[in-house]
């Protein structure tokens, strides 16, 4: 019984209920909302934010943050274009190299954070400026266009009736869920967020875990960049600007504690979907973009308030 109530008042459950309510309300508001085509399309649109939100969940659970994801995205997008058009590599090689570059960018974040012990917020605030600057410098502010058709398949095509990038997203999300829940890596992630010193004293690989998480964050940001470039068939150095706030909103809306130690990938996914259907549903029922922004802000507070109030019954 106690276990049931505990599950019921989990933040994730509350969020799930909010999500279902939102679905109903939106579907009642507009008959164009609850259609397979629209929902799949919305899923396509949220893929980049969603991809990055998965490693960001890990990052935030360790008590850290990665503000540089948007800049890494911009840098990697630019690198695809530059490697392909200016250096003349085959596009697939350019993509590979860009993924490597993103991974290195994340790795650099990790090194600054673990070796030099710079707090993550400051470290990634600095690399936020640095990576964006590199993107601008390398591209000389020129965009690259004219990608071959096969490349558009990733961002604009479908496999078995489902947008291609959704398969990729599902893969990453499932991997994220599995790693966080079931593996030693996931357990270590939580332990770091709850008490880093104790984790260290227990012989858990604290530094290596953090390094890997930031590296993964860089890699997935690069992956998101590729998906993005393929979806819009162009590269610009300002791509991904400001995406970090969207990603963080999804993750914290999903119940991951910004202080670390608590959170689930499932929560992040629900948070993400909730945000997306609100944006879409409100727009379909005639609310303008700025109004939608206000509503999302309010929902964020309400969700946390409700789970706080209910959580108080649960905790003691």
């Amino acid at each position: 019984m106690a276990a049931v109530t505990r599950i019921l008042i989990r933040h994730e459950t509350i969020l799930g209920i909010l999500f279902v309510i939102a679905l109903f309300v939106m579907a009642a508001q507009s008959d164009r909302f609850f259609t397979t085509a629209n929902l799949l399309n919305q899923a396509r649109l949220m893929t980049e934010v969603g991809l990055i939100a998965i490693p960001m969940t890990f990052v935030i659970i360790t008590g850290g943050i990665d503000l540089s994801v948007g800049s890494i995205m911009g840098l990697c997008a630019i690198l695809v274009g530059v490697f392909w058009q200016n250096v003349g590599l085959p596009l697939s090689a350019a993509i590979g190299l860009s993924l490597v570059a993103g991974t290195l960018a994340g790795f650099a974040n990790g090194i600054i954070i673990t070796r030099f012990r710079v707090p993550p917020l400051i470290a990634t605030l600095a690399t936020l400026a640095l990576y964006r600057g590199l993107a601008e410098g390398i591209s000389q502010a020129r965009s690259v266009r004219g990608y071959p058709d096969w490349f558009a398949q990733l961002g604009q095509g479908e496999i078995a009736g489902i947008p291609t990038q959704l398969w990729l997203f599902a893969l990453v999300a499932i991997a994220g869920i599995f790693i966080l829940r079931a593996t030693t890596f996931g357990r270590t992630t939580y332990a770091i967020g709850n008490n880093e010193a104790a984790a260290e004293f227990s012989g858990l690989p604290v530094e290596r875990t953090k390094l890997l998480i930031y590296t993964a964050s860089g890699f997935i940001s690069a992956l998101a960049a590729i998906v993005f470039v393929s979806r819009v068939s162009t590269t610009r150095s300002d791509m991904g600007n400001g995406i970090e706030l969207e990603v963080i909103t999804a993750v914290v809306l999903g119940g991951t504690s910004i202080f670390g130690g608590r959170g689930m990938v499932i929560g992040t996914l629900i948070g993400l979907c909730l945000m997306q259907i609100l944006q879409n549903g409100l727009s379909l029922s005639g609310v303008r973009g700025d109004g939608t922004t206000v509503v999302i802000g309010a929902i964020l507070i309400v969700a946390v308030l409700i789970s706080n109030i209910l959580g108080r019954f649960a905790n003691d």
Partner: protein, 316 residues
């Protein structure tokens, strides 16, 4: 009392480091291009960015108390517009100067209550506030800029002893805030609450009331920043500068305020704000290719942060 002076130097380390970096920067760029250190240019560096330094004072208080505010940029935008609307609608000029302080304080008191009493983590509450304020601003103004400001409204263009008023505000408020933080029971309780909320409670320091007060002060300071922002030019833009909150937070943390709470001074954040302004200007003077400007900025921030970490490790 050798140890005493050692500790004082130790705690001021970041400030001294920043002063040295600023002096070195001025000396170097001035050597390359003497116009950089002309009175005119120094004034414009200070004046054009004073509102950032002022806002960073409030931000430092918030971060020292163990919180963060990502809605500050939006708040400044909203308050600037309110001030402009008041004055163009015939309210007295002094009222248009004063109202942003009061309204900013009121909005942030609400925010503070949400954080302190309803226990919504500050990053979430302010992330939500960011959405609400920025969305609401557009809804309200419809994107129209405010022009036709009466003469005499441009507070930021006034001069006293031939020094523009923003500089006075920046210096005066920094000093007052520094004294407040060091010599009043309230100031010390801000450190206490940020250092260990649990212990603060046990010491009879009201955690919630301290946080609410911090946010109220922060809101009033944001009001001053907004007035400086609004009165610099003949028009008031109705959107917030992109990434203003990141600039302000960066100034605070590079100024030595620990993101973990309980550590830092407002003098440091003001110096850091000056440093960033100087960097922005100096890169133009140094003819750094504009495309690489952001990258160089990023490297400089990173270098400052790493130097600080090295210093901290040395002094233990």
């Amino acid at each position: 009392m050798k140890s005493r002076s050692f500790h004082v130097v130790g705690s001021l380390g970041q400030e001294i480091l920043l002063v040295l970096v600023i002096l070195a920067l001025f000396a170097f760029v001035g050597w390359v291009n003497p116009r950089f250190v002309s009175e005119n240019n120094l004034t414009s560096i200070f004046v054009g960015n004073a509102y950032i330094a002022v806002a960073a004072i409030g931000m430092s208080l918030v971060i020292i108390s163990g919180n963060i505010d990502v809605s500050i940029g939006a708040l400044i935008g909203v308050l600037a517009v309110i001030s402009g609307l008041l004055v163009t609608n015939g309210y007295p000029i002094w009222f248009a100067w004063l109202a942003p302080l009061i309204i900013g304080s009121a909005i942030n008191t609400l925010l503070g209550c949400l954080i302190a009493y309803a226990r919504v983590p500050s990053i979430i509450a302010t992330l939500a506030m960011l959405s609400i304020l920025s969305g609401g601003l557009i809804t309200f103004t419809g994107g129209q800029w405010i022009s036709g400001l009466p003469s005499g409204y441009q507070l930021a263009q006034f001069r006293l002893l031939n020094i523009p008023s923003p500089v006075w505000f920046m210096i005066g408020m920094t000093i007052v805030a520094a004294l407040l933080m060091r010599y009043t029971a309230f100031g010390r309780s801000v450190y206490a609450v940020g250092s260990n909320p649990e212990a603060a409670r046990a010491s009879g320091i009201g955690h919630a009331s301290t946080v609410v007060k911090v946010f109220a002060i922060h809101g009033a300071i944001a009001g001053v920043a907004a007035v400086l922002f609004a009165t610099q030019l003949q028009v008031i833009q109705s959107t917030t500068p992109v990434g203003l909150e990141l600039v302000i937070i960066t100034a605070s943390v590079v100024g030595g305020v620990s993101i973990l709470g309980g550590v830092g001074t407002v003098v440091g954040s003001t110096l850091a704000a000056i440093l960033f302004a100087a960097i922005g200007s100096s890169l133009i003077f140094l003819n750094v290719s504009a495309y690489w400007l952001k990258a160089v900025q990023g490297v400089l921030i990173l270098a400052t942060v790493l130097a600080d970490m090295a210093r901290r490790r040395r002094t233990g």
